[in-house]
Symmetry: C2
Subunit: 172 residues, 2 copies
């Protein structure tokens, strides 16, 4: 059975929507998706680092469309691990686990990895929205999940998908 390592932020959880909402609440500026295209989140949301260290940021993000249904089906066909860079934000650890338990109850504690660098991850397939994670991956298929920050970048090494529906077509 092939092993898939699935990222959380920007792949399962809609951090962009959360950034937009928190920035609007903080200073009344409402960013549109168009304004975010091709720009690092740190640049567009000057307070983003602060949010990432704030209680409830991760716990209250919404779920990316179709991810629950498709991941549940992948979980029957593959050995699925959720691999999230979380140790930079210590308060996120228990929030991320509680969030997974709520929205992805079919994912057991054995299948969760909260880490810093993803270099140490061994899998056949990795799904992530960050080049820094995919570039160091040495499995057979690396899938770049489109998010505004990576929309204009391409190093030719990863398979880009724009939705979970597309992941389903590719892997199921």
């Amino acid at each position: 059975m092939q092993r898939i390592a699935v990222d959380m932020d920007g792949v399962l959880s809609d951090t962009v929507e959360q950034f937009i909402a928190w920035e609007y609440r903080e200073n009344g500026i409402k960013r549109t998706i168009d304004e975010l295209m091709g720009k690092p989140e740190l640049e567009v949301f000057p307070n983003s680092k602060k949010y990432l260290h704030t209680k409830d940021f991760f716990r209250t993000t919404s779920v990316i469309k179709d991810s629950q249904e498709i991941l549940e089906r992948l979980n029957k066909k593959y050995q699925v691990f959720i691999v999230s860079a979380a140790t930079e934000f210590p308060q996120s650890l228990t929030e991320k686990q509680a969030w997974l338990n709520e929205y992805f109850p079919f994912i057991t504690w054995q299948q969760m990895v909260f880490c810093g660098s993803k270099e140490i991850i061994q899998a056949d397939i990795m799904i992530d929205d960050h080049f820094k994670n995919l570039n160091g991956f040495n499995g057979e298929l690396s899938i770049l999940f489109t998010q505004p920050h990576n929309a204009h970048a391409d190093n030719g090494r990863h398979r880009r998908v724009h939705s979970w529906e597309e992941i389903g077509v590719l892997l199921l």
Copy 2:
């Protein structure tokens, strides 16, 4: 640079001493190390599962002798990751990170992995006190750190060490 995956409980942190202390406090029975030899901790400490789910159990364990000094030296020669099975006990996540920050300040958040199954870990060397973690490891050297629960077991597949001093001799 070779990568080492180092376990926490029973390798860096003295969980056995902690079990003995908590059991004594709970019911007045003081186990000796001799009584623990070759027995699963769940058998010797009937309340151990409860302790593992209790606040402060992981945060207040003491550090295993020589681990700080030897690991700091290993950290200069190898790519060190601390890999701890933690997601079974969600409250342990932030406690384990705080504990590492206190006693192993040279370990950065990038080098920490809190997971369930360790199957997904890719390294050259793994140091652990549990066969279940070492048996699934496919790196070149798996090191079994002696603890009472594994004292009488041997499947011939791992290099047994009894102390961090011995790890230093082996790897430095």
